[in-house]
Symmetry: C2
Subunit: 252 residues, 2 copies
């Protein structure tokens, strides 16, 4: 069975992530959500609020992957330079979108709709709006690039509102096995299981904490049937090595 | 005053971050720690457990920034391919380091020191070890690239153990002001404060939740004196706009 792999990149824009002030939450949500849609998040770049850095990251990723998602920098303040940077990446003008303008005007009312807030109606020429059900100011899509707010709950609403525009492949299914063996103890046999199942991604992650050390083995495949066989093979392998293993109820 | 800006990039290796299974914690710690050392984290790339992807990210960043940090993929299992990927990026052999071998042998004892665990003694030719006080298996440094474990508490111990090898510039100081005004309300005046203080990075972040919406304004500079003046200017600006402002006890 020939399977089309749909890939994507993510550009997270924000000095506050790079300085350690804020811990990025968007990568995790986007990665999991795309997975469900059958789209593989393949690379993430976190860049500063600097036009050149944004242009360079978006340009590299949009040529490499089917889709690119961008978060952050859509607000009304001077450090919000995402729309102009994306326009630059596509070598198009930044234009006032009448629909975005109308929505913002309605939301803020005449009194509060000042020049700064008007900036949020500007999108690159040729882009289409992404609805913002939380705080109105829209994101936008231009070609294969989807630009969304940085605030997690707004970004999440935006991503869900565009999911119908995304053509995914088969979702990547996953199963997780917990074992009390060390990574070094099972490494050789696990590698040979991996060799027998080249169509399955097998990862091993030491789990420490909660008093008991051990390893979690994660198996991923687009084929549920193949996963079942691989899981059985890993369970048998752990038993043969004298370890205990159980499947864990983790689905990401 | 001419100030040397020391920059760095970070490569986070891990399918589990991209799939949304795990939320990356290393970027935040490394960003904040480097900041204290006077080193600006300028770009982060999260890539899959794929040699070509690792080589490409490390190669791009090591030419662009003063330092590059790499986390993840140093264990004994088949999906741990960081050391061989870094060797490839530098076009050198992967060699068994006698000191690493001795440490691992001592730690595991003859019985448990199998071939898989021996793999963890292999580092690129010309690299020097980075101590691992938690679980022994070392990281390594080659030229301006520092390769560390992905498990957060091990990575943190490794980073602290190499901090003396890093030549930093002046640390970037920061001050945070909370206000009850909206971003759109203060955007124009904040932009003109930014214009008056080109040497200060001014960011604005909408803070929602905790019932009360508003904006946090973050000012960053290597000059404490200039920061004091800029903070006073922002406080006066908010008062003039009819808002309330207070400095918050946040230092990152």
């Amino acid at each position: 069975m020939e399977v089309k792999l749909i890939t994507s990149g993510l550009v997270v824009i924000g000095n506050e992530i790079l300085s350690g002030r804020t811990r990025d939450a968007n990568t995790q949500f986007i990665g999991a959500e795309l997975n469900d849609l059958g789209i593989r998040l393949t690379e993430v770049r976190v860049v500063a609020d600097v036009c050149r850095a944004i242009v360079s990251a978006v340009d590299a990723l949009r040529k490499e992957y089917n889709y690119v998602f961008v978060t952050g920098g859509l607000g009304p303040t001077h450090d919000d330079i995402t729309a102009q940077s994306i326009a630059k990446a596509f070598a198009v003008e930044l234009v006032c979108d009448p629909e975005a303008l109308a929505r913002l005007q309605r939301h803020y009312g005449k009194e509060r709709f000042n020049e700064a807030r008007k900036r949020m109606a500007y999108i690159p020429l040729g882009a289409t709006l992404i609805d913002n059900p939380v705080s109105v100011a829209p994101g936008f899509q231009i070609e294969n690039v989807f630009v969304m707010a940085g605030v997690p709950h707004i970004m999440q609403a935006m991503l869900l509102s565009v999911s119908h525009r995304l053509a995914g492949g088969a979702p990547l299914l996953s199963r997780t096995i917990g074992t009390d063996l060390g990574e070094g103890t099972l490494a050789r046999d696990l590698a040979s299981v991996q060799n027998s199942f080249p169509d399955i991604q097998i990862g091993s992650y030491p789990s420490m904490g909660s008093g008991r050390s051990g390893v979690r083995i994660v198996l991923r495949s687009i084929s549920g049937k193949r996963l079942v066989i691989a899981v059985e093979t890993v369970l048998a392998m752990v038993a043969q090595l004298g370890g205990e293993a159980e499947e864990l109820d983790i689905t990401v």
